[in-house]
Symmetry: C2
Subunit: 350 residues, 2 copies
Amino acid sequence: MITLAVDCMGGDAGIRVTLPACKKFLDSHPDAHLLMVGQAEALQSFRHERATIVPASEVVTMDDPVEVALRKKKDSSMRVAISQVKTGAALAAVSAGNTGALMAIARYVLKTMEGIDRPAIATQLPHAKGGATTVLDLGANVDCTAEHLLQFAVMGSALVSALENTENPTVGLLNIGEEAIKGSEVIKRAGELLRTAGQSGYLNFYGNVEGNDIFKGTVDIVTCDGFVGNVALKASEGVASMISNGLKQEFKRNLLTKIAAVIAYPVLARLMKRVDHRRYNGAALLGLRGLVFKSHGSADAVAYEHALRRAYDAARNDLLGRVQTKIQTAAPLLMSADSTAAAKTVTSPT
Amino acid sequence: MITLAVDCMGGDAGIRVTLPACKKFLDSHPDAHLLMVGQAEALQSFRHERATIVPASEVVTMDDPVEVALRKKKDSSMRVAISQVKTGAALAAVSAGNTGALMAIARYVLKTMEGIDRPAIATQLPHAKGGATTVLDLGANVDCTAEHLLQFAVMGSALVSALENTENPTVGLLNIGEEAIKGSEVIKRAGELLRTAGQSGYLNFYGNVEGNDIFKGTVDIVTCDGFVGNVALKASEGVASMISNGLKQEFKRNLLTKIAAVIAYPVLARLMKRVDHRRYNGAALLGLRGLVFKSHGSADAVAYEHALRRAYDAARNDLLGRVQTKIQTAAPLLMSADSTAAAKTVTSPT
């Protein structure tokens, strides 16, 4: 039995999305059990033999500052869901709530894994070859050192091998050119660390990649700092929605274009399905002593169910153990990286 | 008469693109004169009453390292074209060559404008409202201070008011959230500087914007460091080409989809025209004591002609004078920013 804890109140739509998604997920996963966390009156209508209601009196809103979520709302559905992972009652927690609050509470409750300075958020973006590229970090860490980028690469490798059945996934370092001499000092040093890690067999380092490689499917994993990752993600969402809205506008222009739309619809629908971001909903918070998955706040039931599936697969394939093993294996490199970072901090306190 | 210097040898296709584009440009601009720079034998066939061949024996290739382009190829078409601006023979130079080499040679030959630490590359990206967002920097500067981001904003404002007839264009700071507390230390400080500049009337600061805002058309100008700008640009190109290739594949699938393609074609073509990047070809190198425009290396003749038009408009509307005036007006702020930066350098040499 795989037990997941679900923050039923999180996300833009709350229970209107989470409850139908949980129902569908349970029906298609006979060995799954859900701890449905939320306000008792909101959840009382939900009935399933493999679901247990876990009451939580408060809700973290999408606008709550991290401090409020963390210090003032100690009985929030988000926090209670994560606590189920801490106590061992659940193998993973899923929430569509406020990302900043989720990361802060998860760090506070679960703590960071040994050998990892900072947890990261990893998501999948669809690529032209029909699969998806795993990108991390997506916004948890705005100022990263070269060592953090190496840690992200190691954790991303564990994630992809656990969830995509890819034994030795390739890692690319997001940069502004393929040549090793490109980029900032941090990026150049990250390139050196990743090359060393690749040569030592800790991961499969491909080299530098550029923004377009994410969507070409050049590598399985792209490592970058959270600022750059977040901008790349949102810029790509912006282009995709500009094109899809533009298509809708053009097809609605007049009777002839409306007829064209009817005829072209099945073709466009097949393309839209291929690049449908809902199929990739469910970002992993990596580097914590427990599994937490983040659904997009505006996810619908289809997308939310996908996040539940990702959490389920991660629990089933022991993502946590795999990340730990990867980190331990790469420890000599990560440790020497750590001590370098520590030494730097001592000699140049900025 | 507006005279432009054209590096006819630059770009992936060289004269096969530049010569037809120059011909078309001259025919549609009766007060334009072109200095056609390149190897005499390559250009001898080109005849136009308002074109003058300026011989240059060498060519900077797309792969030439910056040092080679700058130190070894002193008679390159790129350098000779830029020198025409330096001597006053031309009002602007246009090249589709290697970006790194172009920036390095332009800096060396023309020098940086007073009050500007680093020149930037500004380009336009089409947005959902039918216009384009000007984004800078696009890769010239990978590590930027808050002061640089302010300088980019000031230069970008001059560019947009010169080329788009927008009197008081809005500036957004690229960040990972709308709230002022988001982002790295550099970004937060840049936000403070930009707010002060906005309050002092030096520019029209909107606030933070996110990656998707570039394509929504939220602001006229987006300021960011060159690393982030380059990744956002390439990621968005990657998404656009994934979608357009996906459309082609789906429409080619079988006879029915091919028929659908014929019917949908006019609608799709209209959308493609709206977001056609060729209409926005011609990035400005800003902050130099002379005008230089960069065409995409893979530009076709339509796109290259657009870069010539941008350079022509910039020369005609006195972009150089406008940037200088903007910089001088904002000098109290830029100078205090400079001295802060200098003070910082003195107290914490990292």
